[in-house]
């Protein structure tokens, strides 16, 4: 065998490294496991029908999926050229500058924290109802929320791979349940006639053009998690194909499942009555679509789904904290790992935030399902919407000076389209935030919660500038995450075939 032939044949090292890599199904499973579909289908969608009074939710999932597909074009293209590709702030730091990256990091931390702690607001009441109905145990919602919090804290400090396996099994059963409920719902429409009206784009503006933004926030909340595929960019078998394929597949699956479930609920209850039915039944709007045994199964799975989502977002938040601490943006103590390789300080910090939220809402007597779950959850979704829009701009800026072999569609046209559409949705959402919350215009919650992002963004920008002036070595590594210690800015994928 000539030297050239031997060089062309993959060596034992290449083959061994390739065996450890992930294909599309593994990455897709990882992404969907963090999405916790029943939480959205039974928790977010009925609450959104009831709170906003809007019926265009099925259409919103379809339209937002298309916009996110446009966004993903530039997002996955940039993933191929940077390190720490699993975090929005890494894209923004590389595209728009490090101070903007720090601002984005704090916005992301706040958004994911809202999403995580909000879940206790649904976990508590749901567990309370289930325990009272089936176990004869009567305890306040916050007791159950605290029990879930304690379990999340414990698992957050334990072995992450076990948590991942649990999430995977739950995901599979949840999707099967939602699809079954959807089929039953569509098979028994109100009045015997299946209507496509709630799936039509016209449904988005049925209560005025501004409600598009409100519906988009709800839909984006459902898609949160699809952006996680690049976390595994360095582990992918074929980085140019695996990550984009898994991202688009995740978008497609999520859109299909949620739009289908939301459509089935509206069809089964009737478009004119779905808002009122959601107000009285809550998650029961989904559970009532199928027969009794399916409903019972779905109710228990709803609890496990909420728990899985709380655990997934808990892990997501400590990952952000850990990466930022490794870079020196947050205190170094938050980046230290303990036994079992878990960053305990970062994990416990998020646990304390959850405890504070449960205590605040319990002591204040605020309704957990609407105020804690829906308000904080949708505000978390709104934060992700902001990050999606800014990331689109960052993608354009990143490729502006050097196309790096990417086509104009990927590096400029698609991201520009996504940025314009997402920015429009943000403006409409801000203008109609009171509708999203179901409160009178001018209500403090409707401006204070979204304004929180502006506050942390300003703090982040300021802190970024302080780091530039006082700690240039730390400033230089902003956005590099795990690679902060090596200063490596380009992508690295060991042993991947070119």
């Amino acid at each position: 065998m000539s030297r050239m032939q031997a060089a062309a044949k993959p060596s034992a090292v290449s083959r061994a490294l390739a065996r450890d890599r992930l294909g599309v199904p593994a990455v897709l499973f990882f992404v969907l496991a963090g999405v916790a579909p029943l939480t959205v289908a039974a928790g977010v969608i009925p609450t959104a029908y009831a709170t906003t009074g809007l019926t265009g939710i099925p259409a919103a999932f379809v339209v937002v999926a298309v916009i996110l597909g446009l966004f993903a074009t530039g997002y996955v293209a940039m993933t191929r050229h940077i390190t720490n590709a699993g975090a929005f702030y890494a894209f923004i730091a590389r595209g728009l500058g490090r101070p903007a990256g720090v601002a984005a990091a704090l916005v992301a931390l706040l958004a994911y924290t809202f999403l995580q702690v909000g879940l206790y607001g649904a976990l508590g009441p749901s567990a309370q109802a289930q325990a009272a109905a089936h176990l004869g145990i009567h305890a306040a919602w916050w007791v159950w929320a605290l029990a879930a919090w304690a379990l999340v804290t414990m698992l957050g400090l334990g072995r992450v791979d076990i948590a991942g396996k649990v999430l995977g099994v739950l995901l599979t059963v949840e999707v099967i349940t939602i699809v079954a409920e959807t089929i039953f719902g569509l098979a028994h429409p109100a009045g015997g006639q299946l209507s496509l009206a709630t799936l039509s784009p016209a449904a988005l503006t049925s209560a005025g053009f501004g409600t598009v933004g409100v519906l988009a926030v709800v839909a984006v909340l459902g898609f949160v998690g699809f952006e996680q595929a690049p976390v595994l960019a360095e582990e992918a078998r074929h980085p140019r194909r695996t990550i984009p394929a898994a991202t688009y597949a995740a978008l497609g699956v999520i859109a299909l499942v949620y739009a289908g479930a939301a459509w089935a609920m509206a069809a089964h209850a009737g478009r004119a009555r779905v808002v009122a039915a959601a107000g009285t039944q809550g998650p029961g709007l989904l559970f009532g679509l199928g027969p009794g045994w399916l409903s019972q199964t779905a109710q228990w799975l709803f609890l496990t789904s909420l728990f899985a989502a709380a655990l997934a977002f808990h892990n997501c938040v400590w990952r952000y904290i850990f990466a930022l601490a490794r870079e020196g943006v947050l205190p170094a103590g938050l980046g230290r790992t303990g036994p079992n390789s878990i960053p305990k300080a970062a994990s416990l910090t998020q646990s304390l935030t959850g405890l504070a939220a449960i205590a605040l809402f319990a002591l204040g007597g605020f309704p957990p399902m609407t105020d804690l779950f829906f308000w904080l959850g949708t505000t978390g979704g709104f934060g992700i919407l902001i990050l999606l829009a800014v990331t689109s701009v960052a993608v354009i800026a990143f490729f502006a000076s050097d196309p790096r072999g990417e086509s104009a569609w990927r590096r400029a046209i698609a991201p520009a389209g996504a940025a314009i559409l997402l920015a429009g949705l943000i403006v409409l959402a801000v203008l109609h935030y009171a509708t999203l919350f179901g409160v009178p215009p001018g209500s403090p919650a409707a401006w204070a919660l979204p304004a929180g992002y502006a506050v942390v963004a300003v703090i982040g920008l300021g802190w970024g500038l302080v780091l530039r002036a006082r700690r240039p070595a730390v400033y230089a590594t902003i956005g590099l995450g795990a690679h902060a210690v090596t200063g490596q800015r380009g992508s690295f994928r060991p042993g991947t075939p070119s």
Binding site: R3, A6, A7, S11, A12, V13, A16, L17, D20, F30, N84, G86, R159, V160, D161, G164, V231, L232, E234, E235, N315, R319, F322, A323, R326, R336, T337, G338, P339, N340, S341, P343, G481, A482, H483, V485, T486, Q488, F492, P494, G495
Partner: protein, 250 residues
Amino acid sequence: MMFPMASSRAGRAMHDRGAPRPPRHQPAGRERSRGPVNAGLAGTGLVADDLYLMAHHELTGRPLLQPRPLGIGLAGALLAELMLGGSITVRPGGVVLAGRSWPADDLARRVRDQIAGEYQPRPLPEWLLFWARTAAVDLAGRLERAGYLMRVGGWVRRRPGRWVSVDPDWAFGPLLRVRSALDPARPFDPREVALAGLAVASGLGFRLDQYLTPVGRALAEAIGYLGPDLRELIAQTQAAVDSALLSHRI
């Protein structure tokens, strides 16, 4: 500072299972005491052996790190042995042989030969991930042959056995060496500084904190005195461990 010594109950139980064999490794240039306990405390003189002992519980033999960070750290230590021995070096294109020096140890020679067998140099992170797959088992075998570990359990209920330290005191030897490496009053020893750096990079900083005075700045300073290859190796090991953690593949 308290170290569990051989007088502990668990330690005695371990001794009862069989008389400890004196270590067979007697690295050149390394002073060793005569008694079996003291000889064991001196270690094999190999960085990866010391890191393996630090990364496992001294009584139960259970790993203190998740499998992937542990493997990456041990892989880094295997490469550090070759760097310290002048067998390999890091060039912009990847890891290459530094000369014709051959390591005395079989495992180290196998690592060297694998690197030599590649037609094109591979980057350091690739070698870390490649050896991470097998480093823990390879090193347990090496330490068993050297008389530091013994296998307990077996194939009971279809579960493989595990390795425990022959003498818990010997498992503490590496921590003592790291402490002395970070003592500014003692002469600079690149082997022990590399061990300390790789221990922290793998995620064993908590273990150092448990038994040593706060090491942060002293360690960073000491690493600064290492050659560029070892500094790069420690940084790449930490990056690989952090990447594994952030991608949840641990």
